[in-house]
Amino acid sequence: MKKNCMLSIAISVLMLLVTTGLFANGAADNAGAKPVVEKVLTIGVDQEAVGLDPHIVTAFSSHRRIDLLYNRLTRLDENLSVVPDLAESWEIPDNLTYIFHLRKGVKFHNGREMVADDVKYSLERVLDKKTASPGRSYISLITSIDIIDPYTVKINLSAPLASFLNALTSNNLSIVPREAVEANGNLQKVAVGTGPFMLKEWIPDNSMTLVKNPDYFVKNSPKVDKVIFRVIPEAASLLSGVKSGDLDIAIINDGATIRQADKISQVTVLSKPGINVRTFGFNTTRKPFNDKRVREALALAINRDEIVSLAEFGMGSPTGPIPVSAKEWALPLSKLPFSAPDYNRAKALLADAGYPNGFTFNIVCSSTYEGGLAVAQVIQNELKNIGVTANLEVVEWGVYIDRWVKRDFDSMVEIRGGSGDPDRFLYRTLYSTGGVNNFMFKNAEVDRLLDLGRSQTVPKERKTTYDKLQKVLAEEAPVIFLYCPNENYVLGPRVEGFKPIGNGSLYYISETSVK
């Protein structure tokens, strides 16, 4: 009887060993059999692209592919300054007219040359309401687009728009060929751009393979033959992918994983304050947040440094209304009112507003990164210091969006897509009729400054306007701008020449090579 028992155990152990043994051999086999002829750059990302039509997509993940497939009239460099892209140069005869001189000899992936007609077609497609393009609002002030010659386009605006050149850097305003749209209905599943790479294969939720565009208009670029995007949702798996050599570059949001990557010698971490802004905003039509003093009191209870170190593991920079990474515009926090903790003053303001014993309210957040659950928990803890009780309403991401759209919240932790140009970020966020002003904030002075700022073309005058605006916004505090999360890349040892831009774009992949 004993013997049988031992035998059975032995059999099951043996079976396990056989299977495990299979594996160990396999691992060794595979490691040796890698072709080295082609230069392949593998990028790990946490989300799959939703579609590839540059005029239609809204998802961040889609834009990262479009970065490499299409070009725009202008683009941003690593300092977030506007530089030429398909437009070689431009003239601004008056602040309602822009004349763009296009690069010559640029070819679409289908082999046809890109000309002025394509620019007109693309922008008109975005402006067409049927396209339902998110880029429409960036250029809705365009009244007409005139073709002067095949390489010159004139764009006329109905009102001055100081951020126009910056707006044109948006991927949603990429230049596409008419025939590709007409042949496919839209460009969600195909890619016919002018960009450094061409779409070869797309296996949804798995990988996307791009190959080098041999006719790309920038000399000696791109530097690799193939770029493969791999979708790996787990930050930890992304990191181990780089560590093991399966991935060359991983884009990782999660601060804890970056902290861990710092300790691994084989990998390099590139971290740079991004352009997005984490915000804690109020529904300014609901009690007690319709009272400016209450909002100010809450602002005085917020400790941005603590939030960054607890919720982001230090991977972020405290900011005011204009993202710190937009260096030419952003005022330092020390120059803004209500931006450093002062509990006594906060309590006094609360007493003034009729809440000497504090009050209770809800914070809507979600457990996705964008939903800011960690930030909300820290804020909840900080508000205890001034006797205010915050209850967290942690909702699933879809419900979160639903609440956002319906403006059904007391307060909400969000991440807002920022911009290097203050007009592009703040106008839609805080103008009384702004498209994403879901704080329902209305203030005549803020509206006046925003209108003024977008019409001023002299940088120095514009700067004065936005300095004033930042102070007013910090004082009114319809939303508390907390910090800019860092944009993080983990690079393997083979990667050379990659630069982060700060707005998440992967333009510099075309300058990146692998050893």
């Binding site: 099951s12 998110p134 429409r136 949804p204 939720d205 790996i232 798996s237 879809g398 969006i401």
Partner: protein, 320 residues
């Protein structure tokens, strides 16, 4: 027998109809719509744009009308288009199904490989220390949260190149080794819990068989102990194990949801999870319908196998 199978097949129709009804209305009861998810929080749209988008997303008709349309379509094998990607739903699911099915099958095999021997040992030595230990080991396996085990596996092994290969799923026929390597740890994470279930059923079923007269007779006749166990007892004891295996396919498929998420495997579990997050109704509906169909069909096959192997079963509804 044929009559029985036909009767059972017909009884699947109301069940699948009920599933379709529940899932169609249930997904639409979840707050938030596909259109809202698509727009996110950063996009501005004019009222005209919204009307156009609502038409595209099929939000311009009452739900019962949409249901009838959808039901008509799926009867013709048309599962519609994903609201998020615009791709046809059926090929998308079909490309992910092999992975999930293989994962389920593979974890089943692992569970049987671990569970049956342990169950036999346990039953042959009922109430000894060895039995005690193997039962506790089995129950311990059943008590492990799958995702926790999976996360620990990723933590422990993913740093080694090639142990848990990432990226493209390759079919078993294309590259058996890579395929097995991709699925071994995920299958183990799902299989360990199920191994405990298999073990328990094997043990109980063996115990039952062992006390039956013919086994006692065989032993009394002086047949060698081992041959009694393997030829007589095990053959009869395995029947309930098959049944429980069949009925638990759904459980294993469900386990695949979390495991696919942790190991980043592109199967239907992960597809359905993301479809729920994105309110991609056509995908959720199709995935649930397909899983439910697989589930009821596997149950039916299990019942038929059971009936074939055990002629004493009465082939009517009261035995179910």
């Amino acid at each position: 027998m044929i009559r029985y199978i036909v009767k059972r097949l017909l009884s699947l129709i109301p069940v699948l109809f009920g599933v379709s009804l529940i899932i169609f209305f249930l997904v639409r009861m979840i707050p938030g719509t596909a259109l809202e998810m698509y727009m996110g929080t950063q996009v501005e749209a004019t009222p005209e744009q919204m009307v156009e988008l609502q038409r595209i997303f099929g939000e311009d008709k009452p739900v019962p009308v949409l249901y009838m349309e959808w039901l008509g379509d799926i009867i013709h094998g048309d599962f519609g288009y994903s609201l998020r990607t615009g791709r046809p739903v059926f090929p998308d699911i079909l490309s992910r199904l092999p992975l999930s099915l293989e994962l389920t099958l593979f974890s089943l095999v692992l569970a049987l490989m671990i569970g049956i021997p342990l169950g036999i040992v346990s039953s042959l030595h009922q109430n000894t220390f060895g039995d005690f230990i193997s039962r506790i080991t089995g129950l311990l396996g059943l008590s492990l949260p799958q995702f926790w085990l999976a996360a620990l596996m990723v933590m422990a092994f993913s740093g080694f190149r090639g142990w848990i290969p990432m990226g493209n799923y390759v079919g078993f026929i294309v590259d058996p080794l890579r395929n097995l390597k991709m699925l071994f740890f995920p299958s183990l994470a799902i299989g360990i819990g199920f191994a405990a279930v298999v073990m328990r059923y094997t043990r109980n079923s063996m115990l039952e068989v062992l006390q039956q007269d013919y086994i006692r007779t065989a032993k009394a006749k002086g047949l060698k102990h081992r041959s009694v166990i393997y030829t007589h007892a095990l053959k009869n004891a395995i029947l309930p194990v098959i049944t429980v295996t069949g009925f638990n396919t759904g459980y294993l498929l469900g386990g695949a949801i979390v495991i696919e998420e942790v190991f980043a495997l592109p199967g239907i579990g992960r597809l359905s999870l993301y479809a729920i997050y994105q309110r991609d109704y056509p995908i959720i509906q199709a995935v649930v319908m397909i899983i439910a169909t697989i589930f009821v069909v596997v149950n039916l096959i299990t019942d038929i196998i059971y009936a074939l192997m055990n002629p004493r079963t009465r082939l009517d509804d009261t035995t179910r």
